[in-house]
Symmetry: C2
Subunit: 147 residues, 2 copies
Amino acid sequence: MSDPNVRLEELVTRLRALGHRLTPQRMAVLQTLALSDSHPSVEQIYERVKRDFPMTSLATVYKTVTLLKEMGEVLELGFSDDSRRYDGSKPYPHPHLVCVRCKEILDPDMPSVSGLSDRLAQTRGYQIVGHRLDFYGICPCCREREA
Amino acid sequence: MSDPNVRLEELVTRLRALGHRLTPQRMAVLQTLALSDSHPSVEQIYERVKRDFPMTSLATVYKTVTLLKEMGEVLELGFSDDSRRYDGSKPYPHPHLVCVRCKEILDPDMPSVSGLSDRLAQTRGYQIVGHRLDFYGICPCCREREA
DNA sequence: GTATCTGCAAATGGTTTGCACGCTA
DNA sequence: TAGCGTGCAAACCATTTGCAGATAC
């Protein structure tokens, strides 16, 4: 994992490079995304941002997250139950380990599957642009609670 | 790929085994799910079903798909753009190859990742209950069209 | 015969949008 | 000062739900 503060600087620089303005609300969203390792939801980002800027609106959080998503600086993880979580630290495809009970999301160390991507490109003629690998399970904490 | 008609029989049997009634509308949904290899959306299932039963409602299709999902007989694939596709042929985790242009979904032959599941169970203490592996790309057809 | 299923229409709820005002650069 | 960004509230829209009538078994 790279330094979260370095990542924050990077996000600020790239926003500015594209001519976007850096408002306090945006800065707070960037901080939450860059400094959190917990793959927050929009609602969670909103709650965190409101601590510093109580009059921030949910719509603004949505707009900022959407902007970052379009810039490719945030990875969106949509799930079957309609929930969406965001990763601003590593905005490129990587495996996730999801607890189906408490919804915690971890980034496990794991061999990459990019070799499989290459194989698909060859055998199917697809130009691969991304992938997603999720493991769903019950975390030790929830297993104990249920025992 | 197993025989779609065998799969259809299987679905019918399992529905009945749980005491559910087999209405014409349900039968048409089962057929669409079992006999299609194209991972249809609810809307697509609805269009197909209406050919045989024009007065079928969208709500009924939703209810039947939800029932099958709860029975574990249909795999739901939700995507970031809010679209959802369903697989009634192989309702267990398996890799998908998705064209980001035309939304076609294929089941590529591919080594399984269950070995990685086992490893996560050991290293992280998770009880793994499922996984998802998707590759996103541009299919040969769409690549040619764009060239 | 009766409990389940269907169709309709209304409700739901996360996300998006339109607009007038405010603030960054 | 020129626009971009914000906050508010309304709009959106796929999906779910409630209910009265229809139907599988």
